[in-house]
């Protein structure tokens, strides 16, 4: 009862949509998108603020508008998609099973595209001490309540974490009449884009406290307040600096992680640094024919980059389906000093590719260099390198040889 497909795309957000349209452009028409929500678009549906599309379309769009550019292409081309379709199993031989209200869907795919996006780190995962009242929301949950469901999460809020969603939510809450008392960030630098500090916090007089974190949560029923402390260089709270902020809402914007549950079930090798799949320069995972891009591979800063990466993935899938995918090498990409992670983590051909990475700490006048066996391949100079911003470096075709690891260092 499983239907054959050239490609099954799991996830109908920015990654899956871009991959589908690009595959169709490349002549791969026997494809299907499986989306668990009732509409295509993924997280973009709730990102109603503008700033999307500047890289990809050269204009500033809201999330839903950006998504619609791809959705209308999917519809126009008649690409098959199913909404309300949650994939519950993926096997090593690329069998995909999804649950839908009209029954189970089973596919046997030549190629599978993992495009499930990411999820937010929760209160538990960062081990915030204290009681467990209602009123503690991840930024994305609060955003969904407001922008999709027309629901107000509270009246008086404190925000932990200066990631972009937290900053965007600070402005959104303020515009809706919810008082945002402050944003606290444990690091010594903001995690979101500078423009969002200006237009989401400064414009509304919302203070941002760096090197501060929530060290206690109060309230046996609904949240009554949070205790905030200063932290030292190792991010350990400093005794004696505790300050109580009464509030009924705590918004957490403390990081995103790939939504990798399906990868674990399928036995796909995962990079503990990204929590996404280990991939080669074709974005192929440890299971042949299974590819991954977007935030389920590694968390991106901008949807535009997710689209671009997924279009690159589509080219790889097309080459794989025609048997023309480069191979023959087995080179690991090593994270040298200053580098937190890279994508890809390995290189199997001398095809050119884009190396994505994040540095470990804020660096001024940084140099990122990629070398192999002491031979420098590429060097990128940057006025400022910041862990909050993904760095992309083009590795030209023919520059990687079969011998020795590729080493990436930043300093």
């Amino acid at each position: 009862m499983s239907e054959r497909k050239d490609a099954v795309i799991i996830g109908g957000g920015p990654a899956g949509l871009a991959a589908a349209v690009a595959l169709d452009n490349l002549g791969i028409h026997d494809i299907v998108i499986l989306e668990r929500e009732s509409q295509l678009g993924g997280i973009l549906r709730q990102c109603i603020h503008d700033g999307f599309g500047l890289q990809r379309f050269g204009e500033s769009l809201s999330g839903p508008e950006y998504a619609e550019r791809f959705i209308s292409e999917v519809r126009r081309r008649g690409i098959e998609y199913h909404t309300d379709a949650t994939v519950i199993s993926l096997t090593e031989d690329r069998k995909v099973e999804a649950v839908t209200p009209s029954g189970l869907l089973g596919y046997s795919a030549k190629a599978v595209v993992l495009a499930m996006g990411c999820r937010e780190r929760s209160r538990g995962s960062i081990m915030i001490p204290g009681e467990r009242p209602s009123g503690v929301f991840t930024a994305g949950s609060a955003q969904a309540y407001m922008n999709l469901y027309n629901r107000m999460p509270g009246r008086e809020a404190v925000i932990l974490g200066s990631g972009d969603i937290g900053l965007i939510m600070a402005r959104r809450l303020t515009l809706e009449g919810i008082r945002v008392k402050a944003v606290f960030e444990i690091q010594d630098h903001p995690n979101g884009l500078d423009r969002n500090i200006v237009q989401c916090l400064d414009d509304y007089g919302i203070p941002l406290y760096l090197r501060h974190t929530v060290t206690d949560i109060h309230g046996g029923s609904r949240l009554e307040g949070v205790t905030v402390s200063e932290v030292d260089e190792r991010c350990v709270p400093i005794k004696g600096t505790e300050k109580l902020y009464p509030c009924d809402t705590l918004i957490l914007s403390v990081g995103l992680r790939p939504d990798n549950g399906l990868l674990k079930d399928a036995g796909i090798a995962i990079d503990p640094r990204t929590d996404g799949a280990i991939v080669d320069e074709h974005l192929m995972t440890s299971i042949p024919g299974v590819f991954s891009s977007g935030n389920v591979l590694h968390v991106h800063d901008l949807a535009d980059f997710v689209s671009l990466e997924s279009e690159h993935l589509a080219a790889s899938v097309a080459a794989y389906l025609s048997g023309g995918l480069g191979s023959g090498m087995d080179v690991s990409v090593r994270c040298g000093s200053g580098v937190g992670h890279t994508v890809p983590q390995k290189v199997v051909s001398d095809d050119g590719f884009t190396l994505s990475l994040r540095v470990r700490s804020v660096m001024r006048d940084a140099v990122i260099s990629v070398s192999q066996g002491g031979r420098r391949i590429v060097e990128k100079k940057m006025r400022k390198a910041n862990p909050a911003e993904m760095i992309m470096i083009d590795i030209p075709g023919g520059s990687v040889c079969p011998d020795g690891d590729l080493e990436v260092v930043a300093g």
Binding site: E131, S134, Y145, R222
Partner: protein
């Protein structure tokens, strides 16, 4: 409003619900008065979820007796009530000569208590059973196990309700008066006139006892904090691993849950604040470090949640922890069964304890057995546990089985809706969580809570500001953003 019942059970936790269920075997009208909006808000839902063997309690104690009986009964209860119970065994690991002597004493006590399946095992066997454990030898208790504490309690309550017991949630008892041979119970909501009553109020049992005039008990809180680890770790831990115990404290242990998570804890901190469940930062670190000496896989990165529970322990003047006290004081409060100091192993012991409590009443009054009591609580197979064929059939029968609400735990809209219309009338967000596992997964409700909130509004016809999380005043939303 004044209600008349034959019997009231004060407290709807695992012990109160076990009493209600066992009492519903008789021709009686029964009211269960629970102060919270659900039955698993306190100790019954805040523990290690271990089914104990009965070796760790003093010889001749009620704790030992009911624990051994409860352990023996657990397979049958699991089948009747449809909650998961796995008799996986557990180990108490030691390293020193003193540890060995203590384990020998524990084992001897266990034999005398009637506990079965106890043996000392060497390091080789220990590491076959639990590969990564740190320890040179261990006492294995193969009759011990793990269970779903939420559904054990909930299904006892629902089975009681199916057999006619009525649950009054959010009914906190404020005072009790004796009048014309009956008890008049005044609650924050309605009043109740009953002939008999059971004090199964757990952390509130001392207050109820005082209201009955049975005064003088000293009860202290012992708070245990826990970490919950990701499901990645469940497969690495086949059974609970404990340190060598003392007779009053089991020690910090690592325990697999029936759902494949691992819990770490509890510590034991004395407290007199029975309403504060906050988990402090230093305790989290302490739990992680302490349990890492037993089992090396505990990494901050895998922590998905923390929680705590508070046991109400009856102590003497010197602070020494006492046995369960289950009594009828004919001189002070005739017809009232008073349960004091009900703590661990209360989960394992709940049903035999309930039968004993009822026997005290039966010794004094004629109770007529019902012919139509049904001990079986019908449960539907969880979607996540169905085969593909069963899933397809379920969706064909009800398309709401084809809508996944929680993808981490694979919980469907059909299951959430059934949970919303539970027979006890529990309408909280956590009520859905404990009944379905939605919101318990790796994303900790990031994706599904909005859908569950929306379903609660729709199914119950309530406004967004009337949705509650766990307690009566734990509002979730301030209202609609755009009215109209």
């Amino acid at each position: 409003m004044l209600h008349f019942f034959d019997a009231a059970v004060i407290g709807g936790g695992v012990v109160g619900s076990a009493i209600a269920r066992e009492l519903s075997r008789y021709e009686l009208s029964i009211a269960v008065l629970e102060e919270n909006p659900d039955v698993v808000c306190e100790a019954s839902g805040r523990n290690s979820a271990v089914v104990h063997g009965g070796f760790a309690y003093d010889r001749g104690s009620l704790k030992a007796r009911f624990c051994v009986e409860g352990n023996r009964m657990m397979d049958e209860l699991s089948t009747q009530l449809g909650f998961r119970f796995i008799r996986c065994g557990k180990v108490l690991v030691g390293n020193t000569d003193e540890d060995l002597r203590q384990l020998e004493r524990t084992m001897a006590q266990g034999f005398d208590n009637g506990a079965t399946g106890l043996e000392l095992i060497d390091g080789k066997r220990l590491h076959e059973l639990v590969p990564a454990v740190n320890g040179s030898f261990a006492m294995l208790s193969s009759s011990s196990g793990i269970m779903d504490p939420f559904l054990f309690t909930i299904n006892l309550a629902e089975n009681a309700a199916e057999n006619g017991a009525r649950y009054f949630l959010s009914h906190k008892v404020i005072s009790i008066a004796r009048k014309d041979g009956r008890y008049l119970i005044h609650t924050a909501e309605d009043d109740f006139s009953v002939r008999w009553l059971f004090n199964a109020a757990g952390k509130g049992a001392k207050d109820i006892s005082d209201m009955l005039g049975i005064t003088g008990y000293r009860v202290i809180g012992s708070k245990g904090n826990y970490l919950v680890l990701d499901k990645r770790l469940g497969p690495l831990l086949p059974m609970p691993v404990y340190p060598v115990p003392s007779n009053t404290y089991m020690g910090i242990h690592v325990t697999p849950t029936v759902d494949g998570n691992v819990t770490v804890g509890p510590d034991a901190i004395n407290t007199d604040d029975f309403g504060y469940y906050g988990v402090p930062a230093d305790r989290m670190e302490y739990l992680r470090e302490s349990a890492s000496t037993l089992w090396p896989h505990i990494d901050r990165k895998d922590v998905i949640r923390t929680f705590s529970g508070i046991l109400a322990k009856w102590v003497d003047d010197k602070g020494v922890i006492q046995d369960f006290r289950i009594e009828v004081r004919d001189d002070i409060a005739p017809g009232a069964v008073n349960l004091i100091g009900i703590e661990s192993p209360g989960l394992t012991a709940a049903v035999p304890m309930a039968r004993y409590a009822i026997s005290l009443l039966r010794d004094r009054f004629d109770l007529e057995e019902r012919k139509d009591f049904d001990p079986v609580h019908a449960t539907a197979k969880r979607f996540a546990e169905m085969t593909s064929e069963e899933k397809a059939a379920a969706i064909a029968g009800d398309s709401r089985y084809g809508s996944l609400v929680c993808s981490c735990e694979e919980v469907t809209e059909a299951e959430v809706i059934r949970a919303i219309h539970n027979p006890l009338g529990v309408h909280t967000m956590t009520g859905i969580k404990y009944r379905t596992r939605a919101m318990m997964g790796g994303c900790q409700a990031g994706f599904c809570q909005m859908k569950i909130e929306q379903l609660l509004e729709k199914e119950l016809g309530i406004a967004p500001e009337d949705v509650r999380y766990l307690r009566d005043s734990s509002w979730v939303l301030a209202g609609k953003m755009r009215e109209g």
